[in-house]
């Protein structure tokens, strides 16, 4: 049995026939071949699969693909502007060495985009709270906090914000 779904991913309409048990992360990774979204656990603990739906961070391993029918999904592949320039969060993570192995990074960036959408001047405590659902094993979070702070600073100065040019009307 398959269900037909239609949704918007990174500004582009996408469709697919999926088994009802198919998770959104599998649909993104395997059907749409957007492999930047990762699977790090099987219990919704690690956040490597975090994407945003209408700007809100969700764990795509915990949402069925059929539940995303009609949704506006954004993944790490959709963070750059149309001209290829990096999003402020991508700049921040690069500048402040907010990643090592890179596996948690897409999920971290998507979780942080949800935070900065709500709060462009977060305290360190607010940053640490916002990424509590995302586990990083490499950085001890020290530089991730600096990276998100840097991104917030860039965005306050006018750099690309979390509401992207690529998001469709």
């Amino acid at each position: 049995m398959v269900e037909h779904i239609a949704l918007t991913v990174n500004g582009t309409p996408r469709e697919g026939d999926v088994e009802p048990r198919r998770m959104l992360v599998q649909f993104l990774r395997e059907d749409l071949e957007l492999t930047g979204t990762h699977v790090g656990c099987d219990t919704s603990q690690c956040g490597a699969c975090t994407v945003t739906i209408d700007g809100k961070a969700i764990k795509s391993c915990t949402m069925l693909a059929v539940q995303a029918d009609g949704a506006n999904v954004r993944t790490i592949e959709g963070m750059q502007a149309a001209d290829g320039s990096l999003h402020a969060l991508q700049e921040g993570f690069w500048a402040k060495h907010g990643l090592q192995c890179g596996f948690c990074t897409p999920g971290m960036i998507m979780a942080a985009s949800d935070l900065l959408d709500r709060n462009l001047d977060p305290t360190d405590d607010e940053i640490r709270h916002a990424i509590e659902g995302n586990i990083c094993r490499c950085t001890g979070y020290h530089n991730i906090v600096l990276a998100i702070r840097e991104a917030a600073s860039l965005m306050r100065a006018g750099a690309t914000g979390p509401t992207p040019a690529a998001t469709p009307a």
């Binding site: 930047g36 790090g40 656990c41 094993r137």
Partner: protein, 804 residues
Amino acid sequence: MATAVQDVLGTSVKRLEDPRFITGQGRYVDDIKLTGMAHLAILRSPYAHANIRSVDTSKAKGMPGVLAVIVGADIPYNPLPMVWPAGGASGITNNVSTPRVLATDSVKWTGEGVAAVVAETPEQAIDALEAIEVDWEPLPAVVDAEKATQPGAVQLHDNAPNNVVFDWTVGDKAGTEQAITDAEVVVRERLVNHRLIPNPMEVRGDIGWYNPGTDEYTIWMSSQTPHIQRLLVGIFTMGIPEHKLRCISPDVGGAFGTKIFCYADYALVLFASKLIGGGRPVKWVESRRESYGSTIHGRDHITYLEIAGKRDGTVTGVKVKTFANLGGRLSTIGPGIPTTLYARVLSGCYKIPNVYAEVTGVYTNTTFVDAYRGAGRPEATYVIERAMDLFANEIGMDKAELRRKNFIPKDAFPYDNPSGLGTAVNGEKIYVDSGDYEPAMDMALKTAGYADLEAKRAEAKSRGKLLGMGLSTYIEVCGVAPSKWIGAVGEGWGAAMWESSNIKVHLTGKVIVTMGTSPQGQGHETTYTQIIAHELGVPMEDIVIQHSDTQGTPMGYGSYGSRTSSVGSTAAIKAADKIRDKAKRYAAHMLEASYDDIEVEGAEYRVKGSPDKKKTLQEIAFALDLGFSLPAGMEPYLDETAYYDTPNCTWPFGTHIAIVEIDEETGETELKRYIAVDDVGKKINPMIVDGQLHGGIAQGVGQALWEQAVYGDDGQLLSGSMMDYALPRASWLPSFELDETVTPSPVNPLGVKGVGEAGCIASTAAVANAVNDALSPLGIKHLDMPFTAQKVWHAIQATKGARA
């Protein structure tokens, strides 16, 4: 010095790896799709200990999409290799049992592989696992290493009486016992260094491909050691020599030691690809829950400690008896970790005249145990740093002053540790290379406000908090290891440990460097590029670093043991030396000058005294590639390879201080501040070095406060998922306060010491000492980790005489 290219060595340049990772373009094993690829799933034992009477696969074979069902008896390969027995001068016996690719007769832990399904999709493979019927004969289990050695314990293996893998010793037994007998003060304690699950964020996985047209195998693997796997998986397990197996590690999402080893699934996916035929690759990726039983665990020691000395603070002897839990069967280098890498560094940064260690390796019905970040050295640091605090408390001496009194003095280097890596036979010694321990400790004490500890304690007490400050003055051994030492002493892989680098300067002047080491997130592509840019005077953007593919990179022993910056980088420098030398010889030919008259600055090769007569490296490479005009005997092309065997290991050190507050009512521990002063020698990229320290510190803090692999008495893993195994989260940790001293290593030309493990080695002991310091006013002498609120609350209640 005016070079055209800015020197980047020692600067915090942004990482070259990052653009692909921050845009979702990293390529990990599970991101790879190959034409015709099938999927494999593994049926794992639900029992910790059981005999397999029979396996019925008939129903599973008929399930949708199923291409093959495999049981242990189908696979003609050897059991997996174990290549680092507990060894050395004593010539002791190791009672070896290693896993088979799939278990045939019995299982020894929950999670040991029993059967496998290959299907068109991963879901079909997993569905079909449920249709496999195993007739089990469950057996009683034992999970505690000390209990497993006692009379009457459940026996795991016929060849290992009392479940003992080995009994191994190092040091002077008679001298140490005499020192204890003669001592003014002896402190004894039982210390548990509990079991950890390493948890890199990318689980393991692999894709095996057998090409029937060439009779060649290829494997994509999330591994730290693709070159070594060609030996371990190919020759030792499958009987396939090097020229028939290609091993490729794509981007690896963290490893921390877990991806060093030879795992059953490597051989299984290769076997499965050949079995289903048609040149179809087979992919397997473990789930996180599966990983807890299929990928190694770390630590798990029980240690009986005796520390002896004088009332003036002179430590005269340390003796330990350690039970090291190695799991149900042995992993690749399981026995080497609690012997060589633990007991031989047990005396830490202290000059202790008498040290003796007995280590018993033990089989239990648990996941196999092997090297996890630090690998033996965190266990040693925990023992000696707890020992120093216990001794200081006993004699009423300040903990920092006790350490200061016993430090190896700075004029004693290179230091030959009497129980260390230089004690074995045949004259090959490993010395502690260099050190100056007091400045790092003084800097950390000042930053932490150690002098005001009692005032801080009183202030916290007024808020209902117990404040504690914990020191960890660690050293570690990095940059493993001189091959001749391994050969002479008989400790180590049983193989060499040199490294390699090839540099090609192509027609266009662009530089391709291939390395034998394999990164897992450390930023090697950046740091090697910085080194080569410095050595050859070429801009960073003209250099690319390639690695982790046995086809096209020179043989290397991989990245672990904080060896890449010391051993790998030196190989790169040696290769650059050769490039420079050939370029200089060719420049002499081009400029019609003698070799000795050519001076090199950056990428410019010019005639001394005639600065306008010059050629750039790029011009030289172009001409050498064309080969139109070669001096007699010179080969065309600028392409050089170097192999480097280190003469010694390197020894980073430092002082870490943790400050904790414990809520007296709830027992909850909060890490308030973390100060780390590390001396890792010179730094290639300080930003990357700091990042390594941050991550290591967090992992070590995780062990002290939250993380623990817990087994029930029946061998079921109770902390069997990320729901139950408490990995540190952002809101649980403070930002870290880092500082440095710099004592260059004399071992390598860069003066680097290595940093991958330092944070993790130091931090567990620092936090454990801090918590015990906080609890000491209540009369608590020693509490084992992890310091969960429940455990600490019970300990506090017990001191009040209340029912706990």
